[in-house]
């Protein structure tokens, strides 16, 4: 088991290295091929008002004329030990982990990302708990009352949940609950949990529900299908033959097996979400990673996009790792050599 974990950890690190190379290529090499020069990049730092000499000088100082491999090496080195930046107004130190300087704000990217993380974390954790509980509960009830009015109704709602994007459901929810009934926050505000938990929840409840609705629907359908399959297994009949109460048969024997694939998908979904719930954050103007990323893309702020991409990749790779390890815990047949 320990060797397996170490092997998977090394694999995860290699994966992140590959992701970093690919994203670096996409953002810094491909534009060159399309005719963007080193001075164009330098231009983004110094602004259009600068003279041609200044631009060339800054490009040189930032090492934008160096071979791509050297530039990539410098970027990686920055992540581990930090690096020095000089874009014309003197040398500035960017401490590790340094994901570069923003073109626009001329500030290191990493502290920005750290600032946004709690917002996305709050959104992801709250929403995922809601959708997991709601989705599984509805899925189990639907499976047990297959063909009933509840089952049909729930599956229609689930279908709409899967089909309707957050920028639709979110806006409907906002106009209904925030502007119509005035019982929820109108969006745009975020209060850290440590400052005021009640306000934190008040501001997040609508984004949570919007995001949860989308995923709960998918989980309800998955749970229902898994439950229907499991309750037809021979070992469920054995459990009944022992004289177990039907409720124990369902929760202990049925749900346990039906939930295994759910655990896998749940881990991956949360991992992806930690990299920013782009649509939901934008609809509710939450200053999380997703909103940060869309802002960076709109401003073509490459260092920000790079930093965000690496952070999101890190969460997804880690989620994969955790899910694999969890799988071995949940299903004893997947014991790893």
């Amino acid at each position: 088991m320990v060797t397996y974990i170490i092997r998977r950890l090394i694999g995860a690190l290699l994966m992140l290295a590959v992701v970093s190379m690919v994203t670096f290529s996409i953002f810094f090499v491909v534009p060159r091929l399309a005719g963007v020069t080193a001075t164009d990049f330098a231009n983004r730092y110094v602004g259009r008002a600068a003279t041609q000499e200044t631009v060339v000088e800054v490009a040189k100082k930032l090492g934008l004329n160096d071979p791509v491999v050297v530039q990539y090496g410098r970027w990686v080195k920055g992540i581990f030990v930090g690096s020095e930046f000089d874009y014309g107004s003197g040398v500035e130190h960017c401490p590790a982990p340094c994901f570069g300087y923003s073109f626009v704000t001329k500030k290191p990217v990493w502290p920005d990302l750290l600032d946004r993380l709690p917002v996305t974390l709050s959104l992801a954790v709250g929403a995922s708990i809601i959708w997991l509980l709601a989705g599984v509960a509805v899925g189990v009830l639907s499976a047990l009352k297959r063909g009933s009015l509840f089952d049909r109704g729930a599956m229609i709602v689930a279908l709409s949940g899967v089909s309707l994007p957050p920028f639709f459901t979110g806006l409907i929810a906002l106009s209904l609950f925030s502007y119509g009934l005035r019982i929820t926050a109108p969006g745009g505000a975020y209060t850290p949990f440590s400052e005021n938990p009640a306000e934190w929840a008040y501001n997040l409840i609508l984004p949570w529900l919007t995001l949860a609705f989308l995923n709960a629907a998918a989980y309800a359908r998955l749970t229902r299908a898994g439950m229907l399959e499991t309750m037809g297994e021979d070992y469920i009949r054995t459990a009944r033959a022992k004289g177990l109460k039907e409720s124990t048969v369902i929760t202990k024997h049925g749900l346990r097996a039906a939930l295994t694939p759910i655990v896998t998908i749940f881990g991956l979904d949360v991992g992806i979400l930690l990299g920013g719930a782009i649509l939901t954050e934008n609809v509710f103007s939450l200053p999380g990673l997703g909103k940060y990323a869309t802002g960076a893309i709109a401003a073509q702020d490459l260092p920000k996009i790079m930093g965000f991409t690496m952070l999101a990749a890190f969460f997804i790779v880690m989620a994969n790792l955790i899910v694999d390890l969890l799988y071995a815990v949940v299903d004893p047949r997947v014991r790893l050599a």
Binding site: Y235, R237, T238, A239, A241, L244, A257, D331
Partner: protein
């Protein structure tokens, strides 16, 4: 009321489906006492498994329409509440299932599954139940039971899994034990061991045992009585001696002919029954077996029109056949038996 420990009277289990009514069991009666063994024999789809699941009440609440009477130790089960039958399951009556790999939960240890079965009906601590589980595993011949208690089903061999399944069924000393194809999924050598084990255990526990199988060889040595089923009905029912020494139904003859035997020359062919089991929705008119019966022509045309009655021929030996008794005996003595013996 009934004097027998288990008395099934005119049991019918019908499943309504979109294609029509499936009459899985259609008017079945049999009886069994403590310490005795009944073998129920038939092809796939003859209704033998459905019968056993009905006795345990595992069809209740489902789509099945069940009628008739099942008396167990003076209690009628068909009309009893599902909750009442649930309390009897596992304790008064237990079941050994066919394929122990799929019949045991893959996520729980063998010990945990036996402990669970024991603690449903006995208010004991986990520690006591664990000791009991290990004892049972040792009793059914699993080596190092204290250690194997913590193994998962997939870590056992097929034979060991079936032993563990038997241990689970025995955990609450059931008075009625139903084994549904207990050896079908096993190697031949292991089959013999499991059958020996079941015989020993039945003697020790003095339980009433029902063995359900498609293989006459399995029930040959274990059973006191044998019930041969075809198309949801009993077609021959008698003592093991009746069935093996004086069988009177052409289908039973077919089963005997298709049974491999070690005392035969290996070059000899088996004598299979032609055709395949009947559809339970459109059961053939008249005798359900007549389309496959070699002697159908000797019934004077009744085979395809009239359903034969299950009638006593001699001393509790029941046969459902249109052929006159003397003719059946003559066919067995002159045409079938010599073939089986010379072959």
């Amino acid at each position: 009321m009934s004097d027998n420990f288990l008395d099934v009277k005119n049991l019918k289990v019908h499943f309504p489906t979109d294609d029509g009514l499936v009459k899985s069991v259609d008017g079945l009666s049999f009886a069994l006492d403590r310490g005795k063994t009944l073998g129920i024999v038939g092809e796939s789809g003859s209704g033998k498994s459905v019968t056993s699941l009905s006795v345990l009440g595992l069809h209740k609440g489902g789509r099945a329409k069940i009628s008739g009477e099942i008396w167990l130790d003076g209690e009628e089960l068909v009309s009893a509440t599902p909750e009442h039958v649930r309390r009897l399951r596992g304790k008064k009556m237990a079941m050994i299932f066919q394929d122990p790999l799929s019949a045991m939960h893959p996520y729980f240890t063998v010990g945990a599954q036996i402990i669970e079965a024991y603690r449903i009906h006995n208010k004991v601590t986990k520690k006591v139940a664990r000791k009991h589980a290990a004892d049972l595993l040792g009793r059914v011949g699993i080596p190092q039971p204290d250690r194997r208690v913590d193994s998962y089903p997939h870590e056992f061999s097929g034979g060991m899994r079936q032993r563990a399944m038997i241990a689970m069924a025995l955990s609450c000393d059931p008075e009625l034990l139903i084994a549904d194809e207990p050896t079908t999924a096993l190697d031949v050598t292991v089959q013999a061991q499991i059958l020996d084990l079941m015989r020993d255990l039945q003697r020790d526990f003095n339980a009433a045992l029902i063995i359900i199988t498609h293989d006459l060889g399995v029930v040959a040595e274990l059973s006191d009585d044998i019930l041969v089923m075809y198309g949801g009905k009993a077609i021959e029912y008698g003592s093991a001696e009746d069935i093996f020494e004086r069988p009177e139904h052409p289908y039973t003859w077919g089963l005997l002919g298709s049974m491999p035997r070690l005392d035969r020359e290996p070059t000899e062919r088996l004598l299979p029954i032609k055709g395949s089991p009947p559809s339970l929705i459109n059961v053939p008119a008249g005798c359900a077996f007549h389309p496959r019966c070699a002697f159908e022509g000797r019934t004077g045309g009744k085979a395809g029109t009239e359903v034969p009655e299950l009638a006593e021929t001699e001393g509790g030996h029941l046969v459902r056949c249109h052929l006159p008794r003397e003719e059946r005996r003559a066919i067995w003595a002159n045409e079938i038996k010599p073939n089986l013996e010379s072959a």
